[in-house]
């Protein structure tokens, strides 16, 4: 079953929904990266919660006009309208009053959601509303979807992705450095508006798949995950798009074989699994990489200090140092240096002496800033400079040559 779902063999509608979810996931990953870089990730949470009154209102209006009320396109239009009003409310609250943006986001999110619930409970009392299935918009449900709805989701996902691709260059310029983008002639407020428009489009198309409570995850988690894998804007955009696409694809396919499960949570947990793997195992910024880096640094410090102790004939009490020296073949278990160890120890002591001289002389001040007790001096100074240092240190005194 799982294999059938992942290879798109569960029927035409399920295939359309899965592909639509994948396209939407790619678009959401890329757009979410712009939001994340602009530090406005949680605005999308307010936008998605603010769609609920629109969904309810659209249903009521369509029924009042004698229609079915369940037309996905009508519900989408309604949700887009109320999400837009929510966005305007956030803007008004942050600009006109002294409330911070997080308070405005929370207020709009909870109040619009509350109004939406009032509409939903009202719809449940309508005779047409008993089978409305509007609760599916809260957590997403792709089970038993009509062909027309599946088509809308597939086409909608493709259109949003096309729009994201069309605007990727100016949007990434603004996301990376708004001041520079403005000075190079880009209209930053309008691009911000386009970004919010894309977020809204993703929310509206994603309502049926992910549900409005969790769609914020589809925008935030791919970007945060991608940040572990790349330090460049284009790299982050690519990885975020792939992460979002994979989550949309796998999540929608999985929920096709488990119709009882709401789709949104499945997609979010797939996303979170990818995030957790990145957090732990990403090559440069991951936790494992940081631990390994720390251990190798610790090893270098211990070996260096151990060699200096050997060179000066001091006993080594630190067990870890001794073990590391022994493993590197520089010392025996009783702390006596091997031949190789003696040579390395002498080298380390000479290095340290040269560094001390370099740090005490003004002409080497720049080079002395590289001193950290580990760096070899040959990597910092030229041979001539080292010869100069050796001359300053001088030959052993009081011993006849």
């Amino acid at each position: 079953m799982l294999w059938h779902a992942l290879t798109l063999q569960l029927g035409y509608n399920a295939t359309l929904v899965t592909l639509g979810a994948m396209l939407l996931g790619v678009a959401a990953g890329v757009t979410g990266t712009f939001l994340f870089l602009r530090k406005r990730a949680l605005v999308s949470d307010a936008i998605s919660h603010a769609t609920l009154p629109g969904v309810g209102m659209a249903f009521i209006i369509m029924v009042a006009l004698g229609g079915d009320g369940r037309s996905l396109i009508g519900l989408m239009l309604g949700s887009a309208a109320s999400a837009w009003i929510g966005l305007l409310c956030i803007g008004a609250l942050t600009r006109r009053t002294r409330l911070a943006e997080d308070a405005a986001i929370g207020a709009v999110l909870s109040v619009f959601f509350g109004i939406g619930i009032v509409f939903l409970t009202f719809i449940q009392t309508m005779s047409e509303g008993r089978q409305a299935g509007l609760e599916g918009f809260l957590l997403g449900s792709t089970a038993g979807m009509l062909y027309s709805d599946a088509m809308i989701i597939a086409v909608g996902g493709a259109l949003v992705l096309a729009a994201v691709i069309a605007f990727r260059r100016p949007l990434s310029a603004v996301a990376f450095d708004p001041e520079f983008a403005a000075s190079s002639g880009l209209n930053v407020p309008r691009l911000d508006l386009i970004m919010m428009g894309l977020v809204m489009a993703i929310t509206v198309v994603g309502l049926k798949i992910v549900g409005l409570i969790l769609i914020v995850a589809l925008l935030i988690i791919p970007a945060v995950t991608a940040r572990f894998w790349s330090e460049r804007v284009t790299g982050v955009l690519w990885v975020a798009g792939v992460v979002g696409g994979v989550a949309g694809y796998v999540g929608a396919a999985l929920s096709a074989i488990a119709p009882a499960l709401p789709t949104g949570p499945v997609i979010v947990l797939v996303l979170f699994a990818m995030f957790a793997l990145s957090l732990l195992f990403a090559p440069a910024r991951g936790v494992l990489a940081a631990v390994l880096k720390h251990l190798s640094f610790q090893k270098r410090v211990h070996i260096r200090q151990g060699l200096l102790a050997l060179a000066q004939g001091q006993p080594i009490y630190e067990k870890l140092t001794l073990r590391l020296l022994q493993r590197a073949g520089f010392a025996r278990a009783d702390g006596v240096a091997t031949t190789d160890g003696k040579a390395r120890a002498a080298k380390a002591l000479r290095d340290e002496t040269r560094w001390q001289m370099a740090r005490s002389r003004e002409e080497f001040a720049l080079a002395a800033t590289f001193y950290d007790g580990l760096t070899e001096i040959e990597g910092v100074l030229t041979r001539d400079q080292i010869n100069e240092l050796d001359r300053l240190i001088g030959a052993p005194r009081g011993v006849p040559v």
Partner: protein, 309 residues
């Protein structure tokens, strides 16, 4: 509407809604001023997996294990947000978004996978609560308030929320000065010997306690709305913290009472037969109050605030 059935059907839900609203609004004031308003949002989402796990372990829908589970989930969430923020060098808003969506999704899936058909625990109950069902069937009229037998059958949520409100109010009252100092000037508070780190953590825990108690009774929407809307509206009314807390309590009470009345009686006044969601209506009323203060509140703007006198 003030007759016998009012006491039986409406008095306890209104009281419970009011207590829940005030219990959330009190810590909400400090969270708002600390720019942590969305912590309330995050807490109300992560409470769900905590409650579900507590149910799966104990097998019953009981208050104490659920409170513990939810409080545990809140602590896990706070630790996870900090860990993601520090380990991944991710900005706090995004770290919060990752944490609460993932935990909420986990809670929903656990809930859908486990057999909860015998108990009153489902996703919609978690989102909207069920204020209307917290009725006091043994009341026969106002006189029941002095009737010991009837009082024994009060909905258990009422005394529980009262206890939580007392704890929250005591915390606010005892730590008023340290909370105030650390909220407005953390560096100064530290120099006065106040341990701002544990205090901030305690504030989040108290907020979580209020959220859990209120969540159990009224659902997560009221929790988010009451954490943010009354304090935000109060913030636009005054420049003094004491007055702000007083205003926020007033606004929370007003939202709860008016919201319940509009939800229960509004549709009847408009000619419909059925009531609408009280939790949703309470959130909507708090939004209307915030909108009014945003348009007409005396201290609404940044630049035009009255001078400190």
């Amino acid at each position: 509407m003030m007759g016998e059935e009012f006491v039986a059907l409406s008095l306890t839900p209104i009281l419970i809604g009011t207590l829940a609203a005030i219990a959330c609004a009190l810590p909400g004031n400090f969270l708002l001023l600390r720019r942590q308003a969305l912590i309330g949002d995050a807490i109300s989402h992560v409470v769900l997996p905590g409650i579900v796990v507590a149910f799966l372990i104990t097998g019953v829908v009981a208050a104490v294990p659920m409170m513990l589970g939810a409080a545990g989930a809140a602590v896990v969430a706070v630790v996870m947000i900090e860990a993601i923020r520090r380990l991944g060098k991710i900005e706090p808003g995004a770290a919060m978004g990752v944490t609460f969506t993932a935990m909420f999704a986990g809670g929903v899936l656990l809930l859908e996978q486990s057999d909860t058909s015998t108990v009153h625990l489902d996703v919609e109950h978690a989102l909207f609560g069920n204020l209307e069902s917290l009725i006091w069937l043994d009341a026969t009229g106002w006189s029941s308030l002095w009737d010991r037998d009837a009082l024994a059958y009060l909905p258990v949520e009422l005394p529980r929320l009262l206890a939580v409100l007392i704890v929250v109010a005591l915390f606010t009252w005892i730590y008023w000065r340290p909370l105030k100092l650390s909220t407005f000037d953390e560096g100064f508070a530290q120099s006065m010997g106040i341990r701002t780190g544990p205090l901030g953590f305690a504030l989040v825990i108290v907020a979580a306690l209020a959220a859990v108690a209120a969540f159990d009774a009224v659902g997560s929407i009221i929790v988010i709305a009451m954490f943010i809307c009354p304090p935000a509206a109060a913030r636009l009314m005054t420049n003094s913290l004491g007055a702000q807390v007083a205003w926020s309590v007033l606004f929370a009470t007003l939202s709860a009472v008016l919201g319940y009345v509009f939800a229960g009686y509004g549709p009847i006044w408009l000619g419909a037969n059925n009531a609408v969601s009280a939790a949703g209506m309470i959130a909507a009323v708090s939004g209307v109050i915030l909108a009014i203060t945003a348009v007409a509140g005396p201290c609404r703007s940044r630049s035009g605030a009255p001078a400190e006198g």
